[in-house]
Symmetry: D2
């Protein structure tokens, strides 16, 4: 079965669900799944609609043009993705492999559905992990402190490989605003703390020093403000006083990888709409 | 704002969402909230629709009659509830008070929305708890082992007080089939184990003996088969070898009460549809 | 069985466990339970020892004097509590009752073991809750903005009733440094956020605005720095984008009360040692 | 630092901790860590003691002989392991790789500390996974239904490679009693359900049919009675009605692998003592 998935956001208004469903029904589409959310505080309506387009009698372009005309009447912001077009993900890493492995294993098992044309790192360490899964590995070190040149190199690679989503799987460099602006809502980062607690560096040591009783991890969109982007997924684990910072780091690795993998999965399923600093993440 | 909430279940079919939304749109209703679920394995479609009926120009009876005609064309099983009609709950207890307190405190805080015209027990012990919250308390002991007579007495009370939902808040008697059949999907029980593990008596001791590493509780509809009714809500807590059966009992009390309270809340929100042995519980 | 519970903290040193156990064994005490923790980073040793003192052949004062001499050789900071001396807890509240109820219900069930000679509030609202459980209720409002006078009144009540632990069960006033210093490690506060995230006011609204995917609560010792005291217990619950600030508040109430109750229970069990900003909380 | 770890179980008796610590103190050992548990119901005492043996002035054999004499006076069952002797683990698999990957990734990161001389499977499918981590892979298929011959082949491999622990990482064959008896408390299995719920085959489909609201996984020692061995670790995840059996399987994979990895880690840390059907798992 071929599917189209629409994500739509617009000011809330009477009869909106009937209008949207009628739009598709009158064109003989079967709505396979429809999820909605109304943000009463902001007066915004959000919906995710999955259509069966297996026997669609017109082109995708026609569908999109007609929907655009309709969406304009609702003052809607919208996007569509098709199940027969695979998304392309680049994974950026530094030296630690736990998140990278988790993504690759889930990809191999078909539990995340996309293509990974390349892995990029500022260090050569994880070349072998990439090789294990036969994914091309590009090492883009920062030479002579020239980060601008390095980012240019990475951006060229991303462009060349038609990348839809950039995943920072414990990539230990802060990206420039310029870089980030080229991938709006298309860069997912994993922060090794339960944001907004412990923004910035060394969160596990700081968590130990503060004596928290649970530690966590946060997957969020990268934005110009470090660790301030919209949160996609978080999780925590209970710890005791017995856990020292090394234990927190070890325990945290398992939290980080499952949080990042879930966030990437939600993105690939086209289940996320961003609304200011918040995300609507429709259930799987 | 006055609301009507419809729960609808029918065989899945093309265009069903559009049909339902059109039904309401053509009658000038604003759909405030619409949640759906399609059970692909059983080919069943489920929806929960919340309407604004504040300025409805016809009667509830008219609305229901028109919806009935429409629903018949879908071969649908459905029900409707109105926000201006408070549901009436009876709480049945025996000797332990933790679940009873939790329900009463949530009711008092407005976190569960219903009326509680009476508390019934087979023992006099919890009379004072009922008195604290000024809820009439009826003690219906089983005299001379005549359980049939006792159930008759309880049924009369429930009928007299127009009870919509019966909550077994650690009521330690098994209800007869006859009793249960008079309240289909209207009796919620709390079992102090993570069903289907440890059905029947003494689950905490058995959990200790089996050496499980987590204990749980289950809220479910009471059916003729003990502990076999459709599950509404479950939760667990991690335990260690240090916890003895008394600790499990104490820890379990906190699980039981939050599980039962959540289930009752879901029922009062009209968020539950039963499908065979499964429940669809729409999110809050 | 009568018990003595020792909490001991000292610089880590070779043979320390043998030394401590020998101290008690040579005096014919049976050690019922012994828990230890070594903080390698700070080179500190912590232990909690439970003794059977049912047939102790000397006085508590003798025991303490002898242990003091011994502890001095270890450069230890220590304290002891006896199972036949009930601790006395004062509960301070303002207008919301959920934490208060939870403490009172657990006390009534014997799941927290102490006496509650009084409840104090700066508002009259919860007088009835106190009355339900027959606990004296004192209303100490802040008159003409004279907080100093009000604190003096409260301090007099605490002194008069020989209070060992002050529990701030959603008491909405910041206590002065002077007040806090009179109860070192004897004031437990519940903050309605997962500290160090959302310190200060309005945490649920700020959590909603930040778009976190879990909310939490934190029980901690009150110190001069607001929300900066050593953390005793934390817990969280998963939320979705559907939860608005009112939902967060409602969900949060259930987290707050279980976190505060667990912390109070740990304190009453004499299971907590403070080490700088961290707490060692031995398992139950 | 070289360490010895003792696990001791004996009838509870007065002065036992002092006796054990004195035994080591009189031989100039520094006790780095001591954990205890008393099972009051069964009157059994359990302890785990970690010694610094870096500068031990006698042989391991001498230490063990002297401890044996001492332990006999306590009627104790005991064992000892040394940090300079790496344990050897064999992983048995069939066709699914998620648990295997998790073990290998944790081993590679040093988060599980042991050697893996070989991976054995009844199918050739996972040869490549083993190759990625350069672990020898042996395919032992069941030929002509002769399971006895296959087990003999596996047992020979385990013997030849001096295997201490056998991990069934979704190995889909039931082992014979004869096989199991040769590795008492040395075979860890992962069952893809929250035991004792859903023992036996197809637990995810049965969980779906029963309509549970959480699914889980259980790591346990393999014993003659299938799925009845002592439980080492369990975990769960919350699911909704939207999850079909395939979703449960996918979600379950993440639970299975973390549960199995934690159990293997506990075994390798020498933190587990079995007591009848229960396990004492000392904290990490």
């Amino acid at each position: 079965m071929k599917k189209a998935i629409f994500l739509v956001q617009c000011p809330d208004q009477k009869g909106i669900l009937a209008a949207i469903t009628s739009f598709f029904a009158s064109r003989k589409f079967n709505i396979l799944h429809c999820q909605q959310y109304t943000d009463v505080r902001e007066n915004q309506y959000f919906t995710r609609i999955v259509l069966d387009i297996t026997n669609m009698s017109f082109t995708k372009q026609q569908l999109e043009e007609e929907f655009k005309s309709f969406a304009d009447t609702l003052d809607a912001r919208w996007s569509v993705r098709y199940s027969d077009t695979k998304q392309r993900m680049a994974i950026l890493v530094s030296k630690t492999s736990h998140c990278l492995y988790d993504l690759l294993v889930h990809l191999q098992d078909g539990d995340i559905n996309c293509e990974v044309p390349l892995i990029i790192s500022n260090h050569p360490d994880l070349e072998e992990v990439a090789a294990k899964f036969r994914v091309p590995f590009f090492c883009c070190p920062i030479l002579n402190g020239d980060k601008k040149a390095q980012e240019k190199e990475i951006l060229a690679l991303l462009k060349k490989h038609d990348i839809d989503l950039v995943v920072l799987a414990r990539y230990m460099q802060v990206l420039s605003d310029n870089f980030i602006q080229q991938f709006p809502e298309k860069i997912i980062n994993i922060h090794h703390a339960f944001l907004p607690a412990f923004q910035g560096g060394n969160p596990y040591v700081r968590a130990w020093e503060r004596g928290v009783k649970m530690i966590g991890a946060t997957a969020h969109y990268a934005t110009a403000d470090l660790d301030e982007g919209p949160i996609i997924e978080q999780d925590v684990e209970r710890i005791t006083h017995e856990a020292d910072p090394d234990d927190l780091k070890r325990i945290g690795k398992d939290i980080e990888r499952r949080v990042l993998t879930r966030a990437v999965r939600a993105w690939m399923d086209f289940r996320i709409i961003t609304s200011g600093r918040r995300t609507i993440v429709f259930s799987a």
